[in-house]
Symmetry: C2
Subunit: 219 residues, 2 copies
DNA sequence: CTCAATATACCGGATTTCCGGTATTGCGCC
DNA sequence: GGCGCAATACCGGAAATCCGGTATATTGAG
């Protein structure tokens, strides 16, 4: 009736996410549950696809990060579906409102999860997806996220220590030049770090950065 | 022993500050006290100097805003002292750490006050100055300010309603262009408003603005 | 040892901000 | 009725940011 997997076993899941830290934490969390088992982790779409084509047992559910270097998770959806159409795909995103969600759904994803969801929420979503349920209700994850954000502000964005340094400096009126002098770095280095921070926090300019960092108590 | 004023009267004070609203509020507060009397208010150094040279009774103490259009309060110190050397001058500043303080002291000011001080603190400072005491201890005003800032965040910087609108927009990642579209204004208008906000909050770029506004719960 | 991550550094062009001006209109207040 | 203020609008040049690249050295984990 439900899925093609054998009934008495835990739901086999793969995670594809270039963020190793997040990837590891999530898999550990899933394996703590009785119902889900993270069998494999990949940090690029390419290696995951390789495994899919060579291995004989595809997972029931794949958790797929939307934003990755090289091949985007968005592009991987159709490839995965063409190899193993029975596998459900749940997109992972860091961002509150990612316009790519719609695209992902159109391409065959079953739903999406915010990375800030609790493990329980994620496991529920996996169980739902395996049963063939339609997309995860965005409002649920949204609500969970809102509550979740208030605590656990602990490095949700995986900023490196250098990036945190620079974030602190930026919060106090300093220009790139100023920060470079203060930290004894090249202008270009600071510029690079800032670009990376922008990407991690999904903002596109200074005021966006400070606003977000401030809201999330990063500064 | 103390000052040249007659003993049974309240200490006569003038206020020179281009911010009419602040000026008025402060004078009202002073007049509520039993010991200090705000006799005159001026919104420019020029008009105050004019009054000083024509009137026969200079005040014991002048509260002088550092930052004013045209003639800066800093420039006015020597002029005032040359007319009435017995008058004590207390500088007023909005900013946490104003480098002009040192200059003001060198030119003959008796001390300085942060505009965010409580009326009681200000009155104490006036009484001290009139007795010829040396500069107000910066740490006192600083401490008072810190406590004061936490409450009474009510429009400390006298932002106009339009300015508050724009501040809100800036806090959410919008560029000048974006804000202009959203509020149906010209790019130049928004630019002008932002310049004015910068001046009022004493910041010089976007991240400084957002940081300060965020700290002080303006957004 | 190898791989990946991190921190470092540089370039160039497009865009945006920053700042000091000026100017006009409308509104409220003595 | 005039004065000042708030809001609107415009200009131009200097400075800073933004972004998409590329590249190298070091370090830690497997």
């Amino acid at each position: 009736m439900h899925s093609p997997q054998n009934k008495n076993c835990r739901i086999p899941v793969w995670i594809i996410d270039d963020n190793k830290e997040f990837c590891f934490i999530l898999s550990e969390a899933l394996n703590l549950s009785g119902t889900v088992e993270c069998q494999k982790r990949f940090h690029s779409c390419k290696s995951a696809l390789q495994a899919l084509t060579t291995e004989d047992s595809p997972p029931s559910v794949i958790l797929l990060d939307i934003k990755m270097p090289k091949m985007s998770g968005l592009d991987a959806i159709t490839s995965i579906k063409s190899v193993t159409s029975a596998t459900q795909i749940i997109m992972l995103t860091s961002y509150d409102l990612d316009e790519n969600i719609r695209t992902a759904m159109n391409r065959g994803a079953s739903g999406y999860l915010l990375k800030s969801c609790t493990p329980v929420e994620i496991i529920n979503a996996i169980e739902k997806a395996q049963k063939g349920d339609s997309p995860v209700d965005p409002m649920i994850t949204k609500r969970v996220m809102d509550a979740f954000l208030l605590q656990s502000s602990e490095n949700r964005y995986f900023l490196t220590s250098r990036e945190k340094d620079i974030l602190q400096c930026l919060a106090s009126d300093l220009t790139v030049q100023d920060v470079a002098s203060k930290l004894n770095l090249s202008y270009f280095t600071v510029d690079t770090h800032i670009k990376n921070i922008y990407q991690k926090l999904n903002v596109h300019n200074r005021q966006g950065l400070v606003t977000k960092a401030s809201k999330e108590r990063l500064i």
